[in-house]
Point group: C2
Chain length 544, copies 2
Amino acid sequence: MTTVGKDLDRLATHARLQEMAKSPYDLTAPNSLTPERIASYRCRAAGIDLLYATQRVDEPTLDTLQLLADESGVINQFLAMKKGAVLNRIEGYESENRQVLHTACRDIFHPPAQAPEASKQATDELAKLRDFLTELDDNLLLNDKGEPFTDMIQVGIGGSDLGPRALYIGLAAHLLPNRRVHFISNVDPDDAHAVLQELDLSRTLVNVVSKSGSTLETLTNEELVRTAYSKAGLDPNHYFLAVTGTGSPMDNPDRYLRSFYMFDYIGGRYSATSMVGLVMLGFAVGYDAVIEILLGANDMDRAAEEPEIRKNPALLLALFCVWNHNFLGSETMAVLPYSQALLRFPAHLQQCEMESNGKSISREGEPLRYDSGPIIWGEPGTNGQHAFYQLIHQGTTIVPAEFIGFRKSQYSQDIMIKETTSQDKLLANLLAQSLALATGQKNDNPNKRFSGNRPNSIIIADRLTPYSLGALLALYESRIVMQGFLWNINSFDQEGVQLGKNLANRLLTHLAGRRKDPSYHGGDTDLAGWAMLKAAGLMDDEQE
Amino acid sequence: MTTVGKDLDRLATHARLQEMAKSPYDLTAPNSLTPERIASYRCRAAGIDLLYATQRVDEPTLDTLQLLADESGVINQFLAMKKGAVLNRIEGYESENRQVLHTACRDIFHPPAQAPEASKQATDELAKLRDFLTELDDNLLLNDKGEPFTDMIQVGIGGSDLGPRALYIGLAAHLLPNRRVHFISNVDPDDAHAVLQELDLSRTLVNVVSKSGSTLETLTNEELVRTAYSKAGLDPNHYFLAVTGTGSPMDNPDRYLRSFYMFDYIGGRYSATSMVGLVMLGFAVGYDAVIEILLGANDMDRAAEEPEIRKNPALLLALFCVWNHNFLGSETMAVLPYSQALLRFPAHLQQCEMESNGKSISREGEPLRYDSGPIIWGEPGTNGQHAFYQLIHQGTTIVPAEFIGFRKSQYSQDIMIKETTSQDKLLANLLAQSLALATGQKNDNPNKRFSGNRPNSIIIADRLTPYSLGALLALYESRIVMQGFLWNINSFDQEGVQLGKNLANRLLTHLAGRRKDPSYHGGDTDLAGWAMLKAAGLMDDEQE
């Protein structure tokens, strides 16, 4: 089984696709969007339908994209990943050298697991979680005054924040009675204070999440929140939970009411279905819903093994992304959920895609000769229609779009106005936008012209539930790693965050130095950094 | 005074800038970021500093950008706008033909106003608002049970939602006691239900905001919320406020406790400092804070009249955007506030920029031969550092960035850890990211290399207050219209939203038709739309 990739531009199909990209399928031509095309350019897995008639592809393009997938060995690499291949590495250079096993967290329904040890670890943590949640539900675990806990603060950042938060908001309609979760992520002290001032800390658990146990923001916020507990006369150790890597500086059960573990084969941005997300979600929506999330994700993970592209939504999405980005020349991609509950899902995908695939070198350490990951952005529809859609319809830049929708609302609280429900209006708008972007419109008034041929896909499921949200998450996780395989990059490290961290530490040395000694002058060792501090007005008292 | 623009590529300076763009200032060269450059590439207005040493410009570039601004007549057009020129138009074609006078809303401090009638209308509405707020404060305006109102729901979308919401979140630290605001925008029925289920409606005012009085989402949500009030035994007319255009279908004071007006010379996305934003903000943070917002905005508006680019932050930002976008080739721009309170500020700017400048034709109706508005996106730092910054540091795409920060936190609740405060850490990270993006880093390990030369600016003020937030808002509004002048486009209409609306209505006809008559078949008149509804699974019961 091959796990070695080839550069995209060294694949035989690359040149063929370049040729095809000179005259891609014209969605604005008469009869280009036939009912037959719309009905057949559709693919389903784990309860999710992908409609792609509005992509600029036809049968020859799809056949060639199939060849690209085969030649690139995407599915073989995906299978190898799930079985524990060391894919987080750069050949010939110092790198993280780790397995990539976020899929193992949910490979617990169809034994034998593909990576049995990792799935065993996931199952063990789930059992601890179930026991913990049962104690809470049965009022066996209470605060110092003997009252049940009603609130939880999740302290984490990046992968310990965006994914969990997106899922929590997505499932707010499923909240258990008297359970709420709040999030503190930013080192901005106002972030923590705004959350803390709202809460009765004596009824609030704090879930501190950091794989390394050394994340600056998280440790700072943990201390800030511990101080608030102490000031309120509460012993933080009776209220704080930890989710961290075994052996990390936070792996100290004496300081926490409970400790849960994650493992070094799971990257932060892929960790939402590990304890990083599940402890908080279990508190909020219960253990059964957690299992439903995992089941949805696992069903999609299994569907993503399908080598035939027309039957594999994750693989199709990955290929459309490469087609639009590398061959048709788009720099960005918009994710547009027609569901207010998915408000923060684009921010999670932005992280997951851009931290994974925002790379410039191949897995062999060579500079890429083609573009890797696009910029991902988006906001919920219909809101976006009244905001930035102007540009995606009539701007000079083509923005490929992915619409996400659900046939039914979460709360089933609707109103009929002018013979249609709000949910009808929401879905009609979603479909209409897809058509409008694809087909465009001619007009004598140049300001009412729409050039069309703006590629997009529709992802639609029945209802936003723990199961469908798990499936949706896994769909995106898999398409992102598949894109990485196609680009032959390491989608699992993040060396690009280091330089800023190092420079920030240098500036902090100056700020601390100045605080201790008013005559401290950092300009001797760090001309630019010191000058920036001065220009920003942070050294106002300096006499020079 | 000229208000007619010239196409960017027809300006004499265009070719000179193209030539200069072949070898832009190299921020990675040794000694490129001298303390002198950092100290002098700085500009201040209305309490806001713009630091731009990390842009790829030097003195000759700045001189040429000055010539570009002069030749393009940016400031003359800006002055004409403020005085009431009809700039919302396309020459020779049917268009909105309106003045553009959002600046008049805050031109109330230094008489005579530049557009006296509009400023008079703004002052009259402010007086109504002050009276209304005084009645609330003095417990003269109470609910049917004689209790004060504690909550407000703002029902609006697009410009009636994103800007007001961004300002509200930005000023949450300034909330009056027992005052909260909630927002319903999306036609997604779950959006309204999630808000309504949290509230005691009898203590809640509803502020319905729609200039046209005919926005689908807003009218639908108004009805939905009115129904909820009626079901709760409350007369909606005693709880609902209206902000709308005079003569609109919503201009019916019998149905509202109070009606406030906005005017057709203010575009939705520029309306945050009209009654669209101020009624809600007045309720939340009080009349005095509203005046502070307007004062900050007016101070920046006046500073933006300065023709010398090195003294005008709005003009500099507009020119850097054009330089990076049209000459150095970037498609997007990231707005990165190092302030959790500015969480939704990028979404507002995304709307304001992309709806204004996502255009393909000039003000003479000719297709543009160059790119207009970029894609704007962003999330707060330090959060983003743990998410998408990987791509902006090491991706294959250059993303110009604008950092926004404040020297002091809003709540002044901080903690000292390792000799620095959280606020120190926040600011050190902001400055470090700016430096890291600019200078890059060499390394033997290709995965630890940073190519640098990623242009960015820093916008910094003392503290996030009503005044500074007003100034910041006006800074972005002005730079956006100035970019439109440079591109010679109409930044004030939004024809691009029409096609999707029309198609959505057609699809709604099908959904309504089918609901009334199970044998309804929309495929006879609308092949593609009907096929999309079927493919999306919304016509499941159909037998064909």
